[in-house]
Each structure stands twice: as C-alpha cells, then as structure tokens.
Amino acid sequence: MLRPRPRGTVRLLRFTPVTRPQNLHLLQFLQFSSLPTRSAPTPSVQPDSSDRVPLRKQLKQDAKALKAQKRQRKESEEASREIWELTVGVEIHAQLDTKAKLFSRAATSTSDLPNSNVALFDLAFPGSQPEFQAATLLPALRAAIALNCDIQPVSRFDRKHYFYQDQPSGYQITQYYEPFARNGYVDLYDHDGIAHEDGERIRVDIKQVQLEQDTAKSQEYPPSSQLLDFNRVSHPLIEVITMPQIHTPATAAACVRKLQAILQACGAVTTGMELGGLRADVNVSIRRREEAPGKNHYDGITGLGQRTEIKNLSSFKAIEDAIIAEKNRQIAVLESGGVVEGETRGWAIGSTETRRLRGKEGAVDYRYMPDPDIPPLVIGEDLISRLQATLPTAPDQLVAQLTGPEYGLPIEDAKPLIELDDGARLEYYQDVVEALHSIRPGQDAATRAAFARMAGNWVLHELGGLLTKADRAWDSEIIPARSLADIVDHLQQKLITGPTAKQVLAVVFEGDHRPIPQMLEEDNLLLRPLSREEYLALAETAMAQNPQMVEQIRSKNQLGKLGWFVGQMMRTGEKGRVEAPKAEKVLRELILGKA
C-alpha cells in the first residue's frame, strides 16, 4: 500500500531521471531504494522540519509494523504446523524450601556470605559421609502429591558422575534408577495460557519426580577467573520430568508456569524462575505429519523424530522462544535434506537461534551407580496420607472455587487473585469476604455471591490501583480486611456512594486507622438521600446550562450525553449525596419524558 509521502522523500525523485506520475515514481523509488547497488540515498536527505513525522505517529507506525511482523510469524508458524508435528518434553529443577541441605546439616541460603554455609561433606572432604536430612522429604512429598504422583514406598539414591568445578565430589547424588515418585500428571487449561490449538484443557503426564543435589554457584570473570560459592552445593532439588506430550511452544511455557504455580501453592519451593529457584530443560523433536511415524521413542512414547535437548532455560519466554527457534532449525535441517543430530543445545536470552553445546560423540556417560553410603529411602503410608490431608488447596481447585457459585468471580479476576503476592492477596480477599458475611449473617446465596464479587473488584482493582499509584508492595495491614469489608458493606447497603467509598479507601490507605463507621460519622460522609424535589431542582439547573445538548439528546436520541448532565448534578449537588442512578432517572424523565 502506498501512502502519501512527506515532501522530503519525494525529492528523492531527482535520482530517477524519468518523470512520471507521482505515485509511480514513488513506487519506483521504493523498489530502487531496496537495491543494494544504489548508494543509499537516505542519509543525504534532511527532511524539512515541517515534514518531520510526529513521534506519536512514528510510534503508531512502529507498533503496526511489529504487529504485522507478529501476524506474519504467526501465519508461518501456522503453515509449518500443518506440515510438521512438534513434540516437547519438559524437565524442571526446583529448589525445595528446606532449612538444611540434602545431605548435611548446613543451612540452605541464597543471600548469605559466599561459602559460609558448607559442611565437610558439601565440599567432599576425604572421610566425610552424607547425612540425609529427613525434613527435606516434606516439601518433596508435597510436590509429588500436588502433581498427582504415586509415591514409591522405597526409593534409592544414585551417583551421576561428571567432572566440573561446581561439583565437588565429581558426582551428583540423584535418584536415577528408583525415583521417589512416578506417574503423575498436570492439567493445563485455556486460562493457563496454553496454545489455542490445544483447546480448553490438556493433560501432561509426569514420568517421575526425583530428589537430588544442587551444584555450587560459579561466577565467571573472563578471561581466566571463576569464583565458586559452595553455599548452593547440595541444596535439595526436585527434578520433575514430563512425558514428551506437548505439541506447541506456548503450551510448553504454560506447562512450566503451571508447574511452578503448583509447586509454590503447595509450599514445596520458595522462589520461582525469576529468582533462579527453578530452571527448565526441554527436549524437542519434529516429524512430518504425513510421513510414517519416526523411529525414535522416548519414555515409552513411540514414533517420534530425533530429539535435541535445550538446557538451562531461565524464563517462560525463553522456553517458548527457544522451542520455536529449535523447531524451525530442525525443520530447516530436514527440509534441506539434512539429519537432526541428537545433541545438547543452549539458548541465550534475546537470541534467535539455539546454540550447539555438545553432540552425540561428546555425550557424557554419567556412569550411574547406586550410592553405597546412603540407605534406601522408605516412605510410610501414614506420612503420605498426613501430608495429603494438610496440603493447601491446589491452584486449579482455587480457580474452580472462585469462579463457582460461592464467589462468582470472572476468571480474569480469579487468576490474579491466586497468583498475586504468593497467595497473600487471595488470603486477604477471603478475609474480606468472611468479614462481610459476619457483618451481614444469614444472607441468601445470591447476596453472598454479590458480596464476594464486589469484594473481588475492590481487593483487586481499587486497592490494586492505589498500590500501583503509590508504588507500594503488598501488605495486608495497609487496609485491614475488616475496614475494606465495612466500606463494601456500606456501599452495598447504599449508605455511601461509590465516589465516597473510593475516597474513604484512599484515606485509610494514607494511614487513617479510625474504624470505618466512626470515620463516616465524624467526617459526615454517610449518604443522606436527596428528596425528589432536590433532584428535580439540580437537574433543571444543569439543563439550563446547556440547552443545546438537551436538544441533541431529544432530537438525535444521543443518550450518551446524559452522562454530562449527571456529572453536572454531582458537581453542583452536596458532596457525596447525589446518587448517579437516581440523577440519571430524573434527567431521563425531564428530557425524554419517560420514567
């Protein structure tokens, strides 16, 4: 599409010798300017100041271009999806929320002075032995239960050997042959952000969950220095391995996000990906849909193409981007007649391609061996059932609860309530609802749901708005739950107007801790309803200010303009006493002549 150009650009026509109708010349310029043989004309041209593209316009154009680019990418993704089937499996490593390390009494820490929390065994001192910390089992078991796994009555620890300076003993203790949990699953819903093609819900099976040690943290100081912090060595981790059952990049990212949410909700982990408490590896393979099934099989799933592994992805976006890039790389390899090699690849944030780390010939033989010093882990049924009974409600159940008849929240409100502030926002919300019910006991279900919906709006949007504006972190003490319940209740009972309610909330937010009823009384904020006569008088005053608009409403039925008159009435009337619905009703009567 050709748009009229600023004059400065048009002057470029001088470079084209032939004179033609302007539009054609423009077309020609556009073509020429893309020819590399021609010296680029742009730098020689300084547009007149009057021709400068306004910034706003520029931004708009850029946004449009980006959108077009995205659309194009989406279309080409769609096109390749029809030919190629992508298969992805996910492995995540999550740091468990424990006081001690997995095999020593040294404390776990993320912020302490480097190398201040290290036991002899953590540094692999000769003659030191592991001391399994039974308490680390609790968060691990909670995770496995939350992921619907079968907890194994007996599991064992194995050594996975490889040399690296962040691995003091030359091996990592993990559970390779007999993990403590198997055969779980995670359900992903459309509101979890799965790809459109995956419909409303998909289930991803979890092959196993295993306990293992973290490595030391190394910091590189190129060209030749590396500093090692052994505080992290032997921090308990769980590794969660899904089956290769995911077929879209977005769903893979959603899967990791969901796993993180579940692990956080059940109290198994402390921090998420953004703080390095969770890392993900993905394995990626493709196969042509019309061709016979591939000859590779992983974890019992057959017919797949050769897969590659992408290690150490540290954000949800990185997961999605890396999978897209790797999938496209594999497609390009196969389309040009090549063969996908089984190899390990890496991904740098912001890049467009995965990078080969090591190939099959460089594959590490980990020489897994049962650890002869560590007895088998025997987990009793009583412990499992006790943990099951005390497990916090799972995110999916919370969503169902909040969007169900009891609370009646829209999914757009339910999700952030659950996700914000590590669940503190939800807890606060439930406190507010409970307070509302205790203020007005014995209400019917519909009223209770109305309370709950209203409270959701106030907790999330009104209070959230104040927090954002003031740039303050969440703190349930800023507005005591009881105070917010009182505000909502007064509003619901029509004892105050909406604007008053917002005003009161802001006052409490600023630190006024008087009980709400007392504040409303003392500050004279309670609604004293206006009489019909007073409304009529206010309406007539407002109409007299703008008779033309009254006429427009009458003749052109421009009902939207009623709002202006409502606003006038609110402004001229006594503060906090004019109720918008009543004002509008009177206006309709006077202007349109109907009740």
Partner: protein
C-alpha cells in the same frame, strides 16, 4: 614395665628400623609424653581409662587425624591434613590411647603388598630363610609391620578385600576385620564404601579384642553404621541358647570349604591349614567339609565392584578445594577446559589409575550390565553361600529362602581356612615387573569372600614346628603362616575366640 618405658621403646623402634612403616612417625617429644605419664599415674592408682590407656596405637594413613597429615599414600594428598578426626581416632584418644603415627599403605588402600605408595614401599621385618626381603602384605602393610616390629602397641588398618588380614598373615601378627557396619567409617577415606571396614592389628588376640570393644559402637555420622537397636537385637540372639553355648558347653563345628583347596595353594600353606584343623580337633571340636560354590567368582566380582566404587569415590580429588595440584597450568588452557587432568595424572599412582579406569569402564553404559550388575549378583550369591553353611542365621536377612534342605546340610559355627594361598613373595619379584598386576590380585582370593559378605574374619599366625622332610613345607620359609577364621555376621566375638585357640600355636605333625 611402665607405660612410659613401653612407649619410649616403641619410639626407639620406629627410629631404629628402616622399614618405612610410617609416613608420619611419632615425634620424639610432645604432648603425648605427658599423656602417657598421666596414664601411668592412673594405672598405679588402679583407675586406668581403658585397657589401652597410655598405649601407642598406629593409625593407617587413610584415617583422618587433625594433628597429623592424612596422605593416603598418594601424591594428590601428600601435604593434606584433615580438618577433623575420624570417629575411631576420637574413640581411641578418649580411651587414653596415644596416636603412634600414621602408617604407610598402598595408595588409598589399593594393593596387596604395600608397594604402591608415594612414600615408597613398606618393608617386612621378616625375611625368608635365604635372607631375602619379602612382601609385608597390603594394603595395611605399614600398620602390620609397625606392630610386628614393636613400633607401637597395636594399629588400625582398613580392610576392603583383605587389607588387614593379608599383611597380618605376612608379618606374623593378628589382623581382625569385624562385621561391616560395626566400626564407624566417619573419617575413613573411602576406597570402596560398601566393603571398607576398619580393622585392628595386634600381637595377640586379647589386645585386638580390647580395642574392638572401644570401637564397636554406633556412630550417627556414619550412615552405614549399624543402629543401636540392631546391635542389641544381635547381642540378645547371641546370648540365647543355642548360640550362647558354643565353645562354652558345646564343642564347635568347624567348616572346611572344599573350594578353597585350590591348585595355587602352596604345600606349606596347605600343611599349616591341615595342622591347624588337627589342632582344633584335638581340643574336641569337629571338622566338617562345606561347600561355598560361588567362591571361584568372588575374586572377579570383587575386582569389578571395588574399582567401580573407587572410580566414583576418587572423583573428588581434583586439587581444587584441597590436595596437591600438578605443576603448571592444568587442562588445555581453554576457558571450558578442565581443571584436573594434569593434577589427577600426576597425583595418582599407576595402580590407582588402573583401578579408576577399570571402574570407569565397568560403570559405563555399555558394560554396566555385563560387569557391575553381574558382580552384584555374584556378591549376593557369595552371601547366600555363607548363610547356607552357618548354623547361626544372618541377623540382618530374612530367614525366608533358607530351605530346610540347606539347613540339614552340615552346618558349622565358623570356617577355618588359610588367609593367603602362599607365603609372602620376595620383594625383588614384586619390583622386577616380571609379574602382572593380576598376580597380586590372586593373594586376595581367600579374604575377598568375607569382605563381599560383610562377615567378621580374623587372621592369626601359626607356626609349623620343625619342618621336616616329610612336612611338605617349602625350603626358604620359616613355617609361619596366617590362618583365617570367618564367622556369621555379628559373630565377631566367636571369631576372635577361635582365633585365640590358634594364634601363636606351634603346630607339629606328631
């Protein structure tokens, strides 16, 4: 003789003999003198802390001591001092004993002649009748020689496949390997954890028994240490009839494993075995042939399993956090290069490198099933063999699977057999390079089965008196041999008692 005089005599012996038994000998002066004097005072008052109060006990140099270096006989730890004491060291010092120094060994315990040490070979105080130097046995050769040369009262060694019993047999001392899990391994540098056992070397069984009593306790820091409840369960079984009557009111049934009568057995060893059995028979005990059919695979299984664990355990020595680094820059100089190849290449001796490679191979994905897994199966069978012949049941195993048929077979209280198939080889034969490393492995053939099964075993010296023309004793030996007693798991006291019946006996065919 006062404890002080005894200690001073040991010290003098340490410096007089050039046997290379110690890597770190006792210093001539020091705090230890006061400790011995204090023990003398307690002894005079009749209030000694223990049977070893004020006595010098040597510690094999793969057992951690805070005061003295712990080198494991390796170049990679040649200047290493541990930041902590092993539990056994704490126990001995708590009982009033004084550490007599750190004894020489095959590097990390890997060897049968104590010649694979960065600090040079250990020399046996004995010579053969032709006056040639002979092997001290290994890997606890330094500890055994220190005891034999009276450089200390007793010594601790470690026994993974025979490393206490073999040098005991070669030096004419008593070497005891208790049941696995009874003595703490905290602070004992791992060679093959599932087999490593702290052992005790002494001139007689009573000193060994005294020291065992001090060390035989549960240690929460060692995850493989037998729990207190298991210990008391085993003890109450042993104190109940019929087990409690053995040797006290009932003669013993002594087992002779037929499979141990191998062609490699030298005539002199066979003679001392036969005379030992006869000696026991004379005391009223009965001799019964038994079959331990898996024995012939035990040695192979051991030399798969022990190197496999060793390759894993020794992966920690990279010179990064402790230990000696190789000269010059390590790795290939590339940023992603390794920090350890040169360090490990120069720090480890040839035998250690051989076993690391062996273990790395047998654990690799392609050979795991054929080697490591197979060897574990053999280990299970070896255990089963022993359980089938002992009248006492294994206290840690389910009694199920033990058929009546097996029970009806000749059941025995202990097994008596040679410790080694031959008398000590000449030192010159070991260093000449004429023998392959595998020849050394054969010396462990009789000691390895008890290690694989975790059973208590003791080697005691017996002497065949007046070796005559007809005795079959080889020319060139003095008639001294090590005889081994093996018992059921937990039967450590009985094993020591039977050892006592034989120890120091002069046996003759008359």
């Amino acid at each position: 003789m006062s404890l002080l005089r005894e200690a001073e005599r040991c010290l003098a012996n340490q410096h007089a003999h050039n046997l290379n038994a110690f890597i770190t000998p006792l210093s001539r002066s020091g705090q230890w003198l006061d400790r011995v004097k204090e023990a003398d005072q307690r002894s005079e008052k009749g209030t000694p802390k223990s049977a070893v109060d004020g006595r010098l006990i040597s510690i094999k140099d793969n057992i951690c001591t805070r005061q003295l270096p712990t080198t494991c006989g390796s170049g990679i730890l040649d200047k290493f001092t541990s930041p902590f004491n092993a539990t056994v060291v704490e126990q001995l010092e708590g009982a009033g004993a004084v550490i007599a120094g750190k004894t020489n060994l095959d590097e990390f315990g890997m060897g049968s002649h104590s010649v694979h040490s960065r600090f040079g070979p250990v020399k046996n105080i004995r010579r053969d009748s032709a006056g040639h130097e002979i092997s001290a046995g290994g890997s606890s050769g330094g500890s055994a020689v220190a005891v034999a040369a009276e450089q200390c009262y007793a010594a601790l060694g470690t026994d993974t496949g025979g490393s206490v019993r073999l040098p005991a047999a070669y030096t004419g001392t008593v070497g005891f390997k208790p049941s696995y899990g009874l003595i703490s391994r905290w602070g004992v540098v791992a060679y093959a954890n599932s087999l490593d056992t702290v052992g005790i070397l002494g001139t007689n069984t009573s000193s060994v028994r005294d020291i065992f009593a001090i060390l035989n306790h549960h240690d929460p820091r060692d995850p493989t240490s037998l729990s207190k409840s298991s210990r008391s369960r085993i003890l109450s079984q042993l104190q109940t009839s019929p087990l409690s009557t053995r040797l006290i009111s009932k003669p013993l049934r002594i087992g002779v494993p037929l499979e141990y009568n191998i062609s490699e057995l030298t005539p002199s060893v066979r003679t001392s075995w036969l005379l030992s059995l006869a000696h026991l028979q004379k005391q009223g005990h009965t001799i019964h042939p038994v079959s331990l059919p898996t024995t012939k695979h035990a040695l192979s299984a051991y030399y798969v399993l022990a190197p496999a664990e060793a390759s894993s355990n020794l992966a920690k020595y990279d010179g990064v956090r402790y230990g000696t680094r190789g000269d010059g820059p390590d790795g290939n100089g590339q940023p992603e290069g390794v920090l350890y190849s040169n360090t490990r290449g120069t720090g480890f001796g040839a035998e250690v490198q051989r076993r690391i490679l062996l273990g790395t191979f047998s654990l690799s994905a392609d050979s795991m099933d054929n080697y490591f897994i197979q060897a574990q199966r053999v280990r299970r069978l070896v255990q089963r063999d022993f359980n089938a012949v002992f009248s006492a049941q294994h206290p840690l195993f389910d009694a199920r699977g033990r058929s009546d048929e097996a029970a009806a077979e000749a059941e025995v209280d202990v097994i008596v057999c040679p410790t080694a198939p031959s008398s000590p080889p000449r030192a010159s034969d070991l260093s000449s390079g004429s023998k392959s490393p595998l020849d050394a492995y054969v010396n462990d053939v009789f000691t390895v089965p008890a290690s694989l099964a975790g059973l208590p075993a003791i080697s005691v010296p017996v002497t065949v008196a007046e070796p005559g023309r007809d005795s079959g004793v080889d020319a060139g030996t003095d008639g001294l041999a090590g005889i081994q007693v093996v018992g059921q798991y937990g039967d450590d006291e009985l094993v020591m008692s039977v050892g006592e019946l034989l120890a120091g006996s002069r046996l003759s065919e008359q």
